[in-house]
């Protein structure tokens, strides 16, 4: 294990680099973004990289995966589109990020409707029009996590996607993240997604690696606004190299009658930590959050979710399922806050896990805080071995133990992958599940 970073070291080293690059990054045009970044860095410095002593990281000591040996920039890569094409699918418009940076030449945006505006997020902040950058970091009303603060401070690249009012974007948009290289690097991509009033978008994020030679850490933040009557389907596949780690924060705000459907599938990576924070800010909004993870030997998959019911008459449903191999560790923490005014809230949460070995570990914690009195809320969690009776039943039909196991685990996983509406992505998922379920 590499040396544990101290608070002082990490903030000091990265702060230095921040100061050096800040001016070139944003230019003189945007002081508001720079100001927010400075504040975030100062805030981050108070805790540094979170370890077990920070409540939300009790089971996930980020310091075991990230320290100040990680540089903020890796060597340039020379990928051609032919090197990444196999990671495209369904003919979907694809935005390619390599090592946390948007690479226009590798992207395939010919199928992107001209109504949908995709830009480099930080280039929009350089624009001189007033108010540029006002949206940056605007969704973090509560205290952001140390990792989100770190991203806010150090982010230099990322994507801005804007679907205008009333526009129904039929084809999904694929945001492909590729990790590649031989340097120990921390990347801080930052995205901003806005689905305007009455508009629709399906955003598919995939995280893959190509010939990764060193440990990498993606510390990503995506701010998402789903406006009134808008719908966002947000599908995520995390299948990086076993050397790669990521902390992925999705900060979501949903407006009146808005719909947000997320499916997060985590199949590989030394550490995968997801924070999915959804604030429901308009009445009659509907939220579905699905998750599936396979934690392999030595891997840690941690899903933290937060649903804030701030207003009445909304619905949220959450189902996360985990398969934890021998030696693997899973974490689920699901918070639901129902504010005092949020009457007639329906909020449901369920977490089901299968432990495959003697040394499989699952830490699960449902957390409901309800301050309204006229609500329907429930939560439940089950963690156990694969059903022996079902295994025997299938064996008596001629399926050997390995095949029977695969059939049962496949069915367990399918409950999540079946919620994906885009056929091409669902097919991709099913194929990847076949590979990872053993």
């Amino acid at each position: 294990m590499s040396a544990v970073a101290t608070k002082k070291d990490t903030s000091a080293k990265w702060l230095e680099q921040f100061e050096l690059t800040a001016a070139n990054r944003l230019g003189a045009a945007n002081t508001s973004v720079l100001e927010k970044q400075k504040q975030a860095l100062a805030e981050f410095a108070k805790t540094g990289i979170p370890d077990k002593k920070v409540e939300d990281y009790k089971y996930t000591n980020i310091r075991l995966y990230l320290n100040d040996e990680f540089a903020l920039k890796g060597a340039a890569t020379k990928l051609r589109q032919s090197d990444v094409r196999h990671l495209f699918f369904g003919g979907h418009a694809t935005i390619v990020m390599v090592n946390g940076r948007f690479v226009q030449e590798l992207s395939s945006l010919k199928n992107l409707p001209r109504e949908v505006v995709v830009k480099n997020l930080f280039s929009t902040y350089k624009e001189t029009e007033s108010g540029a950058g006002a949206e940056f970091n605007s969704l973090f009303t509560e205290k952001a996590s140390p990792m989100a603060l770190l991203n806010t401070a150090l982010a230099q690249d990322g994507i801005s996607i804007n679907v205008p009012k009333g526009y129904n974007c039929v084809g999904p948009l694929h945001l492909l993240h590729i990790s590649i290289g031989t340097d120990k690097v921390l990347y801080n991509p930052r995205h901003s997604i806005k689905v305007g009033e009455g508009a629709n978008l399906t955003l598919i994020e995939t995280y893959r690696s190509i010939d990764l030679g060193e440990k990498t850490f993606i510390n990503s933040v995506t701010e998402i606004v789903v406006e009134k009557d808008a719908t966002l389907n947000n599908y995520i596949l995390q299948e990086e190299d076993a050397k790669a780690s990521q902390n992925n924060v999705h900060q979501v705000s949903v407006g009146e009658s808005g719909k947000f459907n997320s499916v997060t599938v985590s199949l590989n990576g030394a550490l995968v930590r997801n924070d999915l924070n959804v604030a429901i800010n308009g009445e009659h909004a509907e939220i579905h959050m699905h998750g599936l993870f396979i934690a392999k030997d030595g891997h840690l998959i941690d899903n933290h979710s937060l649903v804030e019911h701030n207003v009445p008459n909304c619905f949220s449903n959450e189902l996360y399922k985990g398969i934890i191999a021998d030696g693997g560790t899973g974490v689920f923490n699901g918070k639901i806050f129902v504010k005092q005014d949020a009457q007639k809230t329906n909020a449901y949460q369920s977490n089901k896990n299968i432990l495959m070995g003697e040394n499989s570990t699952m830490n699960t914690k449902p957390q409901l805080e309800i301050y309204a009195d006229d609500v329907k809320c429930s939560h439940g969690t089950t963690t156990g071995k694969l059903d022996e009776e079902a295994l025997f039943y299938l064996q008596t039909r001629g399926l050997n133990e390995a095949v029977a196991r695969k059939v049962l685990l496949g069915a367990f996983a399918a409950e999540i992958s079946d919620t994906v509406k885009d056929t091409a992505f669902r097919t991709l998922l099913e194929g990847r599940l076949q590979v990872h379920i053993v």
Binding site: R397, G398, L408, F412, A414
Partner: protein
């Protein structure tokens, strides 16, 4: 075909089968009757290869092969089928899908290639008709939300699809109304041939009115204490099991 010799089986240290002998030939239907707790279901489970049972003595030969050495799926591939007393529900796994896997696994074991989709569908259609089960049920997750009768019919349907040499029916009649019982029994009767055999385990004589056995055995206290023909079942029906219990309770285990 099936030869069980001096079979002794324990569950968690308790002896359930205490030297059971049984021989079943091709083309025969044997009924195993007996009071609750006699060891009937244990016998069915041990033949199928359930792990919770410890075989402490004796042997089970199937076509001359010692199947106690085989895993449950290998026994199935050799031609043994167990219709469960309590068929379980398996969410997310459709009967048709896993049967396709099962059929091809069994074929691979016999050195045959996978079945053509067209052929499989034709067989599916034919066997569904045989047990009067709807595509609606077989296309759904195994037994999920099925009634008791539908679950049992699904067992016989699976047996028809896998076409075993030996079908072990563990209290297939329990929980069935008379109509469901008749459908299930008719299904079994249609599957009877000179090349296969059935072991019908039941508490009541009722099922045997529909599936007429060649031999009837009474299992009591872990042993077969009486064997006979169909008349023995009728005698048990009229007299109950008490006379068996009285007559054989003195037998030392």
């Amino acid at each position: 075909m099936l030869e069980i010799k001096n079979l002794q089986v324990s569950v968690e240290g308790k002896e359930i089968l205490k030297g059971l002998n049984l021989k079943v030939n091709k083309g025969e239907v044997h009924a195993i009757m007996g009071p609750n707790g006699a060891g009937k279901s244990t016998l069915a489970s041990v033949i199928a290869g359930k792990q919770d049972y410890e075989v402490t003595g004796g042997s089970i030969l199937f076509n001359g092969k010692d199947i106690l050495e085989l895993s449950p799926d290998e026994r199935a591939k050799e031609g043994v089928f167990l219709a469960f007393q309590y068929p379980i529900e398996i969410p997310g796994v459709s009967t048709i899908n896993f049967l396709k896997t099962a059929v091809n696994e069994i074929r691979a074991y016999k050195g045959q290639g996978p079945m053509e989709a067209k052929e499989f569908l034709a067989m599916l259609k034919e066997k569904q008709k045989l047990v009067q089960i709807d595509t609606n049920l077989t296309g759904r997750a195994v037994n999920e939300g099925f009634s008791g009768g539908e679950k049992k019919r699904n067992e016989i349907f699976q047996m028809a699809m896998l076409n075993p040499q030996l079908g072990v029916l563990d209290e297939t009649d329990s929980g069935l109304d008379i109509d469901a019982l008749r459908i299930v029994a008719e299904g079994v009767n249609k599957l009877r041939s000179k090349d296969n055999a059935f072991l019908v385990i039941t508490h009541y004589q009722r099922l045997l009115e529909y599936i007429v056995p060649d031999f009837v055995h009474v299992l009591y206290n872990g042993q077969i204490v009486k064997s006979g023909t169909r008349e023995l079942a009728l005698e048990l029906e009229s007299k109950g099991y008490d006379w068996i219990k009285k007559e054989f309770s003195e037998i030392p285990a």
